[in-house]
Point group: C2
DNA sequence: GCAATAGTGTCTTTGAGACAATATTGC
DNA sequence: GCAATATTGTCTCAAAGACACTATTGC
C-alpha cells in the first residue's frame, strides 16, 4: 500500500496535456427505390447519448473501448454491429470532417471518417432503422444528429460526381436490370432528364467491356415494347467512361 | 491533503479502457520542375522520434498538445510550422489511412488524414527540406518514414485521375505559361505523350470559360515559332472538362 | 383505333487525336 | 540551306444528345 498526493496525480495526468478526443467512422448506405424512383439513405435511431432518440448515420468510435487492427477492420465491425447488420456490395471512403471539430460532438473534440456504401434494394431493415430520400437529408430539409447532414451532403456530391464518369449508378440496380432502369437511376441521381440514346450506348459499352452481359430474357412493362434484360457481372469495381454524362 | 490507494488510481485510469491513439495530418506538397520536366514532392527531415533523421511528408499530431478549432485550422498550423513555412495555392483532402493502423506508427495505434497541395516552382526550401521526383516516392524506389510511401502513392493517383478530367495540371505551372508548358506538365503527370491539338483546345476552352486569359506577349524558345503567353486567372477552383485526356 | 410508353435507327454536335503545313532559330 | 522544334490548320473518330419512327399494351 502506497500513499500519494492526489494533487500530484492530477498534475501528472495533465502533464502530457492531451485533451479528450474521439475519432469515429460513419457510413451512408444508399439504395435505389425503384417504385419511387429515388435514391435513399439508411438512418438509424440513436440508442445512446448524445442525440439519443434522434436519427443518424450508423457509426462507431474507433479510439474507444474496442481496438481494431485497422480502420478497414473497424468498418467491418460497424457493418456487423446492430447499427447495420447487413453487407453492402460496394464501399468507398469519402472523407474526414475538417470543419468545426471542436464543437461537432458535444462530448469533446472529434472527427469522423465517413464512407459511402451501396446496398441491394431488397435489404430488410430493423425497427430502429429507416430509409429516407437522400436529398431530404443532404439538403438539410430534415435534420439529423451531429453534422451528419453535412456528411450526407458530401456523400451525395461524391455519388453525383462519380456517376457522371463511371458505372456507379448500375451498382444501385438489381443484378438483373433493363436499359430503362439505368436511365431512371441516372435521372434520379442527376435530378435531370437523361438521354435515352446516350444511356443505351453506355450499357452497350459495359457489355463490350465485360461489366454487364445480355440475357435472352425479356421483361414487359405495363406499356411499351418488351425490354431486354441485362445482368451485372462485375460488382467490385467501376468502369470509367471517357466522357461525362450531361448533368444539366 | 488526501491519501489514496495507488492501485485504485491505476484501476481507475484503466477503467475506460482507451488505448493510446494518435491522429495526424500529413501533406504532399507538389511542384513542377520545368527544367527536368517532372513533378516533385517536398520531403522534410525528421527532427524527432520516431524515424528521426529520415525523410518524411510534413505532418503534425492533431490530438496532442495543441488544440485546434478544426482539422482545417490544424492544416494552417502545419503550413505555418517550421516543417513547411510557405503557402500552397491549392489544397485538397485526399484520404485517411485505413490499413495497418495498429502498427503504422511504432508509438501506438494511429491514423493520418492526408492532403495534397500545389506550390509555386519558385518556392525556396530550408536545409532540412528537399524536393524529390514524385514517382520515386510513390513507386517505393526510395523509402521514407512511416507508411508515407503509400500515402504518396494515393496522392499521386489522385493527381493523375484529377488531371484526366480537370484543369489541375495548369495549377502546377507559373501564372504565365504557354500551351507547350501545358503539354509538358500533362505529359509529366500522365507519363505519356500528350496530343498537342487536344491540349491546345483545352487551353482555348479555359480561356472561353474565364479560367485563363491571353496576353499580347510572346515568348521565344531556343527553336521554333514564337509562343503565345497565357495567364492563369482563377487558381482557387478547377474547371472540369467533359472528356478525359488519353492516358495511354 | 388511340393514348401512353418503350425500344430502334439516323443525324448532329462536341471535343480529342492524327498529321500535314507553316514559322522560327542555330549552325 | 538544313535540322530541330514550335505553332496552325484540316481531317478523322468516338461518344453523347436530339428526334423521328416503330413496337406493344390497356382502354
Amino acid at each position: 500500500m502506497y500513499y500519494i498526493d492526489i494533487d500530484l496525480v492530477e498534475i501528472n495526468l495533465m502533464s502530457d496535456n492531451k485533451f479528450d478526443y474521439l475519432h469515429s467512422i460513419d457510413i451512408g448506405l444508399l439504395r435505389y427505390n425503384s417504385a419511387k424512383k429515388q435514391v435513399e439513405i439508411m438512418l438509424v435511431l440513436r440508442q445512446n447519448d448524445p442525440f439519443i432518440g434522434q436519427w443518424a448515420l450508423p457509426g462507431i468510435v474507433i479510439n474507444g473501448d474496442t481496438e481494431d487492427e485497422s480502420i478497414h477492420d473497424a468498418l467491418q465491425r460497424l457493418i456487423s454491429s446492430t447499427k447495420v447488420g447487413f453487407k453492402a456490395k460496394y464501399y468507398e471512403q469519402v472523407g474526414t470532417t475538417e470543419e468545426n471539430n471542436k464543437h461537432r460532438d458535444p462530448r469533446c473534440w472529434s472527427s469522423s471518417t465517413f464512407y459511402m456504401g451501396i446496398i441491394d434494394e431488397s435489404v430488410v431493415l430493423k425497427k430502429n432503422q429507416r430509409f429516407v430520400k437522400l436529398e431530404t437529408i443532404s439538403s438539410g430539409q430534415e435534420y439529423i444528429a451531429f453534422d451528419h447532414n453535412l456528411i450526407t451532403k458530401q456523400i451525395h456530391d461524391r455519388l453525383i460526381s462519380k456517376s457522371t464518369y463511371s458505372s456507379l449508378p448500375i451498382l444501385l440496380l438489381n443484378e438483373h436490370f433493363t436499359v430503362l432502369d439505368a436511365i431512371n437511376v441516372c435521372g434520379s441521381i442527376m435530378n435531370a432528364e437523361i438521354s435515352k440514346t446516350g444511356q443505351r450506348k453506355r450499357c452497350e459499352k459495359l457489355i463490350e467491356q465485360g461489366f454487364v452481359e445480355t440475357t435472352n430474357q425479356k421483361t414487359q412493362a405495363s406499356r411499351g415494347a418488351p425490354q431486354g434484360l441485362l445482368r451485372t457481372v462485375i460488382t467490385n469495381k467501376l468502369y470509367f467512361f471517357d466522357r461525362a454524362i450531361s448533368a444539366q
